[in-house]
Amino acid sequence: METLLPGLIKASYFLAALLFIIGLKRMSSPRTARTGILWAGVGMLVAVAATFALPGLHNRELMLTAVVLGTAAAWWSGRRVAMTAIPQMVALYNGMGGGAAAAIGLAELIAAAAWINVHPGQCAFAAAPSAACLAPSATVLAYVGLFIGAVSFAGSLIAFAKLQGWMDKRFVFSGQRALNGVILLAALVLGAWTLTADFGVGLQVSLLAIVVFAALALALGLLMTLPIGGADMPVVISLYNALTGLAVAFEGYVLQNEAMIIAGMVVGAAGTLLTQLMARAMNRSLGNVLFGSFGAAGGAAQTIAGAQKPIEAADAAVMMAYAERVAIVPGYGMAVAQAQHKVWEFAQALIARGVKVRFAIHPVAGRMPGHMNVLLAEAGVPYDLIADMDDINPEFPTTDVVLVIGANDVVNPVAKTDPSSPIYGMPILDVASAKNVIVVKRGKGTGFAGIENALFYADNARMLYGDGQAAAASLIAELKAVDG
């Protein structure tokens, strides 16, 4: 058994890596998506069980305690959180992964520093006589993984706090970018110095250098994310997801763990591509999201003439009851108001009257691409009623009524007309070309990007003020009244 065990563990890691890849592949098609997570879940169980069986590990009670506590807390929070809060939960769990990768780097580097200083000369380059010695390439990747993991940890927690609404403001101060550059440079210099010194500067100094290095990475993650506005958060979360994957892959190399290397790298690449797709959907480059402060040009934006014209729920219901085609454009406001069920109920009532209803979804509506699809799916809206931006945009001119519910920036015509606007160039749902537009909105404020919406002042637009859920409920009631 003793000789068989290492082979079995290696085989388990191989199986885990295989199951992760199959699982992700299945998740990339709607038909098989549901079983995909199961495959990946089995892979995770196999890998964790194999690790418990690894010979020569200490602290097994601590290990079990931490696994049980971490799993229980996350399972409980993940179960009870509302679907609308999913984006910030993904950010939170992702930050935890980044923190774990950083902790691995920290622990391994501290152990290596301690070993070298107690057994000088035993870790001479290449031929590492002990598990506590790191090869030079492993030391480099331990640092890099620690850095990326810590950035992802701090950044994801800020993203979580912002989406959770604990932190409304964007913190911008002059010289912020320069400060970030200085921190990055300091971390590079410090890392290079400890590498060349190879922990030969004494244990105390080595430990201090490693801890300061980690602190610099945390500070960078914090400062990088603070100035980023909520509209860009989906891209940022996706980026940190990719970064955590990379950190996991690098720390996997340090630990010589194949499952970590492969899973981490696959997520790193997939996450990078996903980030690019999202950034493209918003017509912004990644550099622009990270370094250009959103809204900085806002002061120069055109002012919009005219007034917002309100409408009563009764009139709006009549308008849609006798329409031939109605398009519903949901946005984050619908998610906040938990209005997806009521909206679908209203849409069903319209469909029962013979109105052709479709839901039009902007690629970045909500706080995550596909966020609205998830919510509508929760309410039970069938796939074939949901249209992508490219499909529905040509249909708007022949649409009688567009009901915009809680969406703002993604229907703002300013993106096409005003070059000075921060969202200029972003592809939008062209709802202004429809015959009538009804906008359900809580108040007269601006959207998440803080930009005035020219749509609300358009001649064919009417404002139905109120919370999304209440508005949908009164529309349903008024629609019933139409039939008497």
């Binding site: 992760f20 992700l24 990339s28 098609s29 549901r34 997570i37 879940g41 995770m44 890998a47 964790v48 690790t51 690894l54 590990l57 601590l62 290990m63 305690t65 696994v67 506590l69 971490g70 799993t71 229980a72 996350a74 399972w75 679907m83 999913i86 769990y93 992702n94 935890m96 992964g97 923190g99 774990a100 990768a101 902790a103 691995i104 622990a107 301690a114 997801n241 994957g245 950190a247 720390e251 010589q256 763990n257 499952a259 899973a263 981490g264 997520v267 690449a269 997939a270 996450g271 990078t272 591509l273 996903l274 999202m278 995550m368 596909g370 998830v374 039970g380 069938p382 796939y383 949901i386």
Partner: protein, 98 residues
């Protein structure tokens, strides 16, 4: 022992695998996939367990313990959230069929 160029090859092939998996995904699945890949890098819990297993001093133990705690949170939370999201897709297809 995975070293030098062998590691580079694995990095490269895994990166292409990840890229190809995502390359032709409909927008509707972007959020579940992001969440699913978030779960997959929860494999970090395994590494944190090994790091905790190597730990000698109380400081290393503490760091390792926090690492395992966070890693397990990543894996479990990522799984639950992804499963809940994908569950809804199933419900909606059922209605469509019936």
């Amino acid at each position: 022992m995975i070293d030098g160029f062998l590691a580079l090859y694995i990095f490269m092939l895994a990166a292409f695998t990840g890229y190809e998996i995502i390359a032709r995904v409909p927008v509707i699945l972007h959020t579940p996939l992001m969440s699913g890949s978030n779960f997959v890098h929860g494999i970090v819990v395994v590494g944190a367990m090994v790091a905790l297993g190597h730990a000698q001093t109380p400081l290393e133990q503490a760091i390792g313990f926090v690492g395992v705690l966070l890693g397990a949170g990543n894996a479990a939370g990522g799984y639950v959230v992804t499963e809940r999201m994908l569950d809804m897709f199933k419900a909606s297809r059922k209605k469509e069929g019936g």
